[in-house]
């Protein structure tokens, strides 16, 4: 000890040269100016530069200075920066440098650079945009090292201007001065621009006629005044945002919203809204402290909030108790709200139906002109499409419903380590794909539906982009075993060495385990729509016992007949007919005809199909049960957006409270020790309640409590029998806050650890992560990192 400390004292004044390689989120977040400032303040000489392996720093000075530098680097790190690792090595002293400098990047081999996410416009930039005296006044593409586009404009690494979509725009001298000045807020802010040198802004009519082109601040101010006027007149504008176009209209204008809904053929789907400021949101929604934190975060996602009783959101979010709101995150939004004329704008992804969000100007003008009256756009290209993220706070935890802008491509640390690189292609709908390398996973932005040529092309293009950007060469590709998933088809065509087929609900389970860092035997309670099972039926109410490598289906919902394929999912009344028939046979069909008199012909045929087993598939999907009950109660006959029947059923349930449940029986399969959850008695009782004119709110609530109770009973029973400590919940049904809260609270009370999805969506956006984990586990080369 004494020897060590004396040696240290001895060395404090010794001059040394150190090389540091810093990895993490260290590019595009003001890291180098920060290093520059503290190195100079500590009177060190040397340089800092970006490489594609990370930020490289060489420092020369006394041991004491070097030590203080290191402490300050970690202690005073800029808000958006994040250090993963620092590799330090000693170099011979040179005595060459006269001072500390920032050296411009040079390209090397690709490596572990972390591409930053897109960041909400910062307060300094906000101030400048609205300051008449500032040269950025009204400039809609203003940004700095603390804010602005990143992931959406980066074409390749290292993150330099020529690798972004700002490459065609030559900086003016004012911008260049800021860009070159290490202590400036815009030092090496790659997408920096101003009215003098940046992309122009245009207002164009539906017919493609340019109304205004603006670059100077005065022109811009006039252009935005005109855009606001159009919105106030009830016009719909396609506005180019960070990761794609939005359809924008005045949310308080019922005519405008109705028009947008009609054009988009979206009669009821909730539309996201953007409020001018936080106060407006608080006036109409209940906002908890944590919800507020997420709303104003640099990620600025859409946050699902409870409506206040006094607030009327029937235009944008009909039939439900919540509304998705966000605050302006790009300067272009701020400028639409620059005066107090507009309070709330509808901001919904702009895309032709079933297609990815539109990002290209030309495409917008030709493909979106039947939806909008005007276009508000600029010439900065969007390299990567990126939808708005969607977050809901449940049990005081932010839960990702759509993980995209602001979060992509942030990495997630995993509890296992793979020495193979794995591409997991994800699900067919709400697609997100994932790359696993070592003990980290990068999830792609929201890719959406793959079931179209455009969707498939978008998927393939993005996979290519990720591999280039992050220098990935997968050895293994993992995919869902559903025989008709397009995404699986594509995966099988990819030229990687190994291919692994993964069961849908096992992937759901593994996904939730992974995000919570769990290993070991776990009980997964997967309540989902429908996914392809190991026995060729469609699963969806599954209690799986296992780990990443394997699972057994320890209990599952009774199979229900789904008549006529996907039509039965799009039209929940068909599921209700199935339930009525299951419960009461012929009489059930007559009841169905009484409930839907104008469908009696179809009901007659559905009945024949059920009796004769024609075009029927069997599914244990919880989503299908929710659909059937929702339709049976007259809440939702036809689903106009995914999950509508279940979402609206939950809204009914939330209006009630009663302390009783329906009957659910557990039977055991003779061949195996698998428990079957038999819904029949519950369905019988619900039909009886309905016939006795019990209020649908009460039935809906009791139904929720019944599902919660049977799940809790099973969880407690199974964990006891198998001496388990941990339970995970996954699958789309767990978006249901009422159900989730009931189950989590009850299981917690029983002293078990229960986890639900937070960082990764519980819906099919989350399965890529699970697929990657399972593939890694199955390769047998896995080491535990803990």
């Amino acid at each position: 000890m004494a020897k060590g400390s004396s040696a240290q004292v001895d060395k404090v004044d010794t001059v040394a040269r150190e090389r540091l390689l810093v990895k993490g989120v260290v590019q595009g977040v003001g890291f180098r100016p920060f290093i520059y400032r503290i190195a100079r303040e500590e009177a060190l000489t040397g340089f800092v530069r970006n490489t594609s392996k990370g930020v490289e720093i060489e420092l020369e000075g006394t041991r004491g200075q070097l030590k203080r530098f290191s402490e300050r680097m970690h202690g005073e790190l800029p808000a958006l920066a994040e250090i993963d690792s620092v590799d330090a090595s000693e170099l011979p002293i040179t005595g060459q440098d006269s001072q500390f400098q920032i050296v411009t990047s040079h390209t090397q081999v690709k490596g572990d650079v972390r591409i930053p996410t897109d960041i909400k416009v910062c307060e300094d930039c906000q101030r400048e945009i609205l300051d008449q005296a500032d040269r950025h006044y009204y400039y809609p593409l203003t940004n700095c090292t603390n804010c602005g586009p990143r992931f959406t404009v980066i074409k390749d690494v290292p993150y330099d201007r020529q690798m972004t979509t700002m490459e065609p725009f030559k900086m003016c001298s004012a911008c260049e001065v800021e860009y070159m000045e290490p202590l400036d807020r815009r030092f090496h802010a790659q997408p920096t621009a101003c009215p003098d040198c940046g992309p122009k802004t245009k207002l164009i009519t539906q017919a493609g006629e340019t109304l205004a082109v603006a670059s100077a601040s005065t022109e811009l101010r006039a252009l935005f005044a005109q855009a606001r006027k159009l919105l106030l007149e009830g016009k719909i504008i396609a506005v180019k945002g960070l990761g794609g176009f939005h359809f924008v209209c005045n949310a308080n204008d019922s005519e405008a919203v109705r028009k947008l809904r009609a054009r988009k053929k979206r009669p009821y789907k909730p539309l996201a809204v953007m409020a001018r400021n936080e106060q407006l949101i608080k006036d109409r929604c209940r906002v908890s402290a944590i919800e507020e934190q997420i709303l104003i975060s640099t990620q600025a996602p859409i946050v699902i909030l409870d409506k206040k009783d006094t607030a009327d959101f029937s235009l944008v979010a009909p039939g439900i108790n919540t509304v998705g709101v966000m605050l302006p995150y790009a300067p272009i939004h701020l400028l639409l709200f620059a005066t107090d004329e507009l309070d709330w704008l509808v901001m919904t992804s702009a895309n032709p139906s079933n297609m990815p969000i539109t990002i290209d100007n030309e495409e917008a003008l030709t493909e979106l002109n039947s939806y909008v009256d005007y276009f508000l756009l600029h010439d900065r290209e969007i390299e990567q499409r990126c939808d708005d993220s969607l977050v809901r706070i449940i049990l005081k935890k932010p839960v990702m419903i759509r993980r995209s802008r602001g979060y992509t491509p942030e990495r997630i640390k995993l509890p296992i380590n793979s020495d193979k690189t794995i591409l997991a292609v994800g699900g067919e709908m709400k697609n997100i794909f994932a790359y696993m390398k070592k003990d980290q996973v990068i999830l792609s932005q929201y890719i959406g539906e793959i079931d179209s040529w455009e969707g498939r092309q978008n998927f393939i293009r993005n996979v290519g982009h990720f591999e280039r950007l992050f220098d990935l060469e997968p050895d293994i590709v993992a995919y869902d075993k559903h025989p008709s998933y397009q995404v699986t088809e594509v995966a099988k065509l990819l030229p990687y060495d190994s291919k692994v087929e993964i069961q849908h609900h096992h992937a759901h389970m593994a996904s939730c385990m992974a995000e919570h860092g769990l290993t070991g035997t776990t009980l997964g309670v997967i309540l989902d729509g429908t996914g392809y099972g190991d026995d060729q039926t469609l699963w969806g109410s599954e209690l799986l016992l296992g780990d990443y490598k394997q699972f057994t289906r320890i209990a599952h919902g009774k199979l229900l007949p789904v008549v006529g394929g996907e039509k039965a999912i799009e039209e929940p009344w068909r599921m209700a007919v199935s339930l009525l028939h299951l419960s009461k046979g012929e009489q059930g069909l007559r009841l169905a005809s009484e409930i839907w008199p104008d469908r009696h012909k179809e009901i007659d045929l559905l009945g024949q199909m059920l009796e004769k087993q024609i075009q029927i598939v069997y599914s244990s999907g919880m989503g299908r049960l929710f659909d059937g009950i929702s339709a049976l109660l007259g809440i939702c006959d036809i689903s106009t957006y995914e999950g509508e029947a279940a979402i609206r059923l939950a809204s009914y349930a939330e209006r009630f409270k009663v302390n009783s449940t329906y009957t659910v029986k557990l039977t055991e399969e003779t061949t195996e020790a698998t428990k079957i959850i038999d819904w029949l008695a519950m369905i019988d009782e619900i039909i009886t309640d309905k016939l006795n004119k019990v209020s649908p709110e009460l039935i809906a609530y009791k139904f929720h409590m019944t599902i919660a109770k049977i799940m809790v009973d099973l969880i407690i029973d199974i964990t006891k029998n198998y001496s388990l400590k941990q339970v995970v919940l996954s699958g789309g049904t767990w978006h249901n806050e009422l159900l989730l809260t009931e189950v989590v609270n009850a299981v917690n009370e029983a002293g078990l650890k229960i986890y639900f999805h937070e960082q990764v969506p519980t819906n099919d956006s989350g399965i890529a992560l699970g697929q990657a984990m399972i593939a890694a586990a199955k390769i047998d080369k896995i080491r535990s990192t803990s």
């Binding site: 559903h482 394929g565 996907e566």
Partner: protein
């Protein structure tokens, strides 16, 4: 004659001869009582087209036709779509012991009638009887010979980007007719099979539009499968316009309920015709003027590509059309 088919009807003895004389010869051979083992076509010009097909339809009788009508029309159509004028047909029967002779005669009559209307001769045949439960009533094989006029060359190799794909009316009706008969579903307005011979229709069209490049009958697997096969063969893309697909209201109602896709349902009286874009109007005019072509439409266009078929949906967005792998399972989660 007995009422039912006996094993002895297939042994080549007396009963066989009785059956041939009383059922087959009576209906098939109009001007010639001979029963050749092989038929000699000795005065035909042109290139020979030769095809064979085996028919195992269940049920044997359905709305709009029966196995006999399909057995003739199917083979006639296979010849006609390659540009041949069908002339001679052979037919082989495999009959299950116990099959009603009255039913057999109905089938044979239907074959004779279809052949007559199509202007083809049934010139040779064969009959075998299998033990009860070793067959499904009756199976029929027909082979056909036709002759292609010297100057006529139809080939998928002629297909080029820009060409139009025409069809002579409503799609999917045979598949749905069979499906509903087989399942015993009672639709209030049932769909009839479109089963018909198309050789006269095709001949008329070729006469007026010799520019026709290629034809195929979209039978098993429907329009989707047939176009996918052609796209793969040519290496070109084919884009189907969803809104232009001729589908009857009855069929639409039925597929909607059953969760089926009319693009994949079989047709037995339809032909897909590839013509250059500038002949579309003329071709459709001729087609629509003929009874087999009521409701003719352009449904697709050929483009550059790599062998893909797309369905341009009414909403916007293109779906990829592929060969069907088993029964479609819902994918919505």
């Amino acid at each position: 004659m007995t009422e039912k088919i006996l094993l002895a009807h297939g042994d080549g003895g007396k009963l066989t001869h009785d059956l041939i004389d009383n059922v087959f010869v009576k209906h098939f051979y109009v001007d010639n009582n001979a029963l050749p083992d092989a038929f000699v076509a000795d005065k035909e010009p042109g290139k020979i087209a030769f095809t064979t097909d085996t028919f195992v339809v269940n049920p044997l009788f359905f709305k709009g036709g029966d196995i006999g009508k399909i057995a003739i029309a199917g083979t006639v159509n296979d010849l006609a779509v390659v540009g041949a004028v069908p002339k001679y047909i052979s037919c082989g029967f495999i009959i299950e012991e116990g099959f009603l002779i009255a039913d057999l005669e109905k089938i044979v009559e239907s074959m004779a009638k279809t052949a007559k209307e199509a202007g083809v001769a049934i010139v040779t045949g064969d009959t075998k009887v299998v033990e009860k439960n070793k067959g499904d009533g009756v199976f029929i094989n027909t082979s056909g010979i036709g002759f292609v006029p010297e100057n006529r060359t139809l080939s998928y190799k002629e297909i080029a980007p820009g060409d139009a794909v025409l069809i002579n009316g409503n799609i999917g009706e045979h598949g749905m007719a069979i499906m509903s008969e087989r399942s015993g579903l009672n639709f209030s307005s049932p769909v009839k099979s479109d089963c018909q011979a198309l050789n006269n229709f095709i001949e008329k069209l070729m006469e007026h539009v010799p520019e026709v490049k290629f034809m195929r009958d979209p039978t098993r697997g429907g329009v989707a499968t047939t176009l996918k096969e052609i796209a793969t063969d040519t290496g070109l893309n084919i884009t189907i316009e969803e809104e232009s697909l001729p589908v009857s209201d009855e069929l639409m109602g039925a597929v909607d309920l059953l969760g089926l896709d009319p693009l994949y349902l079989a047709n037995e009286g339809k032909v897909l015709i590839f013509v250059p874009q500038d002949k579309v109007e003329t071709a459709l005019e001729i087609m629509s003027s003929l009874p087999e072509g009521i409701g003719s439409k352009q449904i697709a266009t050929v483009g550059e590509g790599n062998g893909q078929v797309f369905l341009q949906t009414a909403f916007g967005g293109k779906k990829i059309i592929d060969l069907l792998a088993g029964a479609p399972l819902p994918r919505i989660c």
